[in-house]
């Protein structure tokens, strides 16, 4: 009877390797994907601690120094110091260095009040000069004299979280609807799929604008933020549902699903235990690759002035302010910093997504 028990000499074979573990082993070998992942972990960590990392509050306006170019700390002996700049008399947004006057750059300085991670009241900042007359604007200031670097970090809270929350919403809805549609079939399937096609057939941008115009213009930033997520998810779930439905259709005919039916398993449990878990590797890849669309979606909405409102900061809004006219861009190129941030984030997501896709392909090594 025991003819199939084969004594395995390989010690590694003793440790059961889960499918996730295999997935991770394959992912680990992809440098580019790991780089993307590390960049993203770093970005999201900084985002979570935006108030602490940024030297100033995003609403703080420095009336004397608008369109101030980036100020770079420099070494004076072994100290990092920040030079002092003063406006050039008679010229708009021109600044010159005041020789000899510097302040040392200090870490953990007290400054503007903020809430750490949105909860804990706090006023310690990672770095600063502690002197309002000698500020440190790492990426310069905007037209109102607000620190671009600080706004970039605060803005990332909106821009980066929109992607994550949006994906969560889209995918849970897409998986649920697609799973039901594919497994039950029949009329439910027909109606759901026609609805998906309807949503997908309307050009996305117009749909976004139409949906946005249904709501009043003067909403609070929080409301607008939620609204953007809902709008973007409303457009995104349809294509997700279609893909999940397709996968469900093929998984439904797999023999382990038949086996569960023969055992008398209920339909909802079959979907939850046997079908949806087998779409996960696809879903994770697709989610990673579509986060950038949500980030860019916010950018577009804010750029078209129907997104996040002043004085709140978001990457899209900051870019919109930068593009007031072309002259602004040549004179004050540092205002394009959010563009660079978007570029890095989108690229990191795509690297990670490509790597995940390769790792999810079990035929790859």
């Amino acid at each position: 009877m025991n003819e199939a028990i084969d004594p395995t000499n390989n010690p590694n074979a003793r440790i059961p390797r889960t499918p996730w573990r295999l997935f991770w082993d394959r992912l680990r070998r992809r440098r580019l994907a790991l780089t993307g992942g590390i960049i993203l972990v770093f970005l999201y960590a900084v985002t979570l601690l935006a108030g602490f990392v940024s030297p100033y509050h995003f609403e703080r306006e420095d009336r004397e120094r608008f369109f101030h170019p980036p100020i770079r700390p420099m070494f004076d002996g072994f100290r990092l110091v920040v030079p002092r700049f003063k406006p050039v008399e008679g010229q708009l947004a021109k600044y010159e260095r005041v020789q000899g006057e510097t302040r040392s750059l200090r870490f953990f300085v007290q400054g503007d009040k903020y809430k750490l991670a949105g909860l804990i009241p706090c006023q310690t900042h990672l770095l600063g000069t502690g002197d309002e007359q000698i500020p440190v604007y790492l990426l310069g200031t905007d037209q109102l004299g607000r620190d671009v670097f600080s706004r970039l970090l605060y803005g990332s809270q909106i821009s980066l979280s929109i992607g994550l929350i949006g994906i969560l919403l889209t995918f849970s809805m897409g998986m649920l609807v697609g799973g039901i549609s594919g497994y039950f079939g029949g009329w439910a399937d027909t109606i759901i799929m026609r609805l998906c096609e309807l949503i997908m057939s309307v050009p996305g941008l117009y749909l976004i604008l139409t949906l946005r115009s249904v709501f009043p213009a003067g909403m609070s930033s929080t409301h607008v933020y939620l609204l953007i997520i809902v709008i973007l998810s409303f457009i995104g779930w349809a294509s997700m549902a279609r893909v999940i439905r397709g996968m469900t259709l093929s998984l439904r005919e797999r023999q382990f699903v038949l086996a569960a039916r023969v055992l008398g398993q209920t339909r909802l449990k079959i979907i939850a235990r046997h079908i949806l878990p087998n779409t996960f590797s696809y879903v994770i890849v697709a989610a990673t690759l579509s986060v950038p669309y949500y980030i860019l979606g916010e950018v577009i909405l804010s750029y078209l002035a129907v997104g996040i409102q002043e004085p709140q900061a978001s990457w899209g809004l900051m870019l919109k302010d930068a593009y007031v006219n072309r002259q602004n861009l040549t004179l004050y190129p540092w205002l394009l910093a959010p563009g660079a941030a978007i570029f890095i984030t989108v690229l990191a997501f795509n690297f990670l997504g490509d790597g995940l896709r390769d790792a999810a392909d079990t035929k790859s090594t």
Binding site: P16, T18, P19, T266, P277
Partner: protein, 321 residues
């Protein structure tokens, strides 16, 4: 009393065409099949692809809804059960699948796969009892109990097939429908699984409906054999009778086409012309007549009934003696 009685079972699939999905025709996958299986017996079911053997196996346990006909299992009308009743009745009849690579959920451990069956029918009082039962089942199919922690991808095809058998056994069924259980396995492993199925049958008094295209395997494991062609039964008898003195010309051709290892075999080879016709538009009269080497004029018009040629030997052929 028979364990399973199938009476005039028909499974027609609609063929839809066009924008409004009008039903244009029907695929007569199973066309009026009757059979019975006694407790502890193995009925072999052979035929080529498209003959409806898999559909028949699946419709008997209502994985596919039959179009008409009745299935009586252990005194219960399976065809009349509602969804909930059917789910609880499923304990009594199980299935083993062909493809050991797709029949186990890759995201569940072997313990979870077998445990699910136990959970559904509440066959273990607690998790300790469940674990003990899983281990017992793994031993019963010749696998080391420590394998319960592992995932399907770590096993070879034969080992996976054993896990699938353990899953089916978990609910203590009386009948197992075996759908080509060895055809996807390596030759040297097939005998292990065939022997295991035979051992389990003796130990647990199981009945099998054994579906396969390999006549030698079917003859080896079955007491009786049924040959299907285009959704119909063409021959039914004790397995040795079917394989040694087949009455239906199709069975004769099928048996002569099996490659034999013995180079001195003096068997005459009958090579059938053409292919199996489409079940959407089957030939008139006897469905086998276009390929039949002995067909007569009446075979084209008159559909032969399954009749008892010699005691216990049934064939659906006008000319069988």
């Amino acid at each position: 009393m028979s364990l399973l009685k199938v009476n005039n079972l028909k499974v027609y699939f609609p063929v839809k065409h066009g924008l409004f999905s009008r039903v244009k025709a029907h695929v007569k996958a199973v066309d009026g099949v009757s059979l019975h299986i006694e407790p502890g017996e193995t009925l072999g079911l052979v035929g080529e692809s498209g003959c409806g053997k898999t559909t028949l196996g699946r419709s008997i346990i209502r994985l596919i809804e039959p179009t008409s006909g009745t299935v009586e299992f252990d005194g219960e009308q399976i065809t009349e059960l509602s969804g909930g009743e059917l789910r609880s009745s499923r304990r009594k009849f199980q299935m083993i699948f062909q493809d050991p690579y797709s029949s186990l959920n890759p995201r569940m451990t072997v313990g979870q796969i077998i445990g699910e069956a136990i959970d559904i029918h509440h066959l273990a009082a607690n998790s300790v009892a469940k674990e003990a039962r899983v281990q017992e089942l793994l031993k019963a199919v010749g696998l080391d109990p420590i394998y319960a922690q592992r995932y399907p991808h770590e096993f070879s095809g034969g080992q996976r097939q054993r896990i699938g058998i353990a899953r089916a056994l978990a609910v203590e069924p009386k009948l197992i429908v075996c759908d080509e259980p060895v055809s996807a396995l390596d030759v040297s492993v097939q005998a292990q699984i065939i022997n295991l199925l035979k051992d389990l049958q003796v130990q647990k008094g199981l009945a099998y409906l054994f579906i396969a295209h390999d006549l030698a395997v079917v003859e080896h494991i079955s007491q009786r054999v049924m040959v299907m062609y285009l959704g119909k039964v063409v021959e039914l008898a004790d397995s040795q009778k079917v394989c040694r003195e087949p009455k239906h010309p199709y069975s004769q051709a099928l048996i002569s086409a099996v490659p034999v290892v013995d180079p001195d075999s003096k068997r005459q080879r009958i090579i059938l012309p053409g292919d199996v016709p489409s079940p959407i538009d089957p030939p008139t009269g006897c469905v086998f007549h276009p390929r039949c080497p002995v067909a007569e004029a009446r075979c084209k018009v008159e559909s032969p009934a399954l009749r008892e040629i010699t005691p216990g030997h049934w064939a659906a052929c006008h000319l069988a003696k």
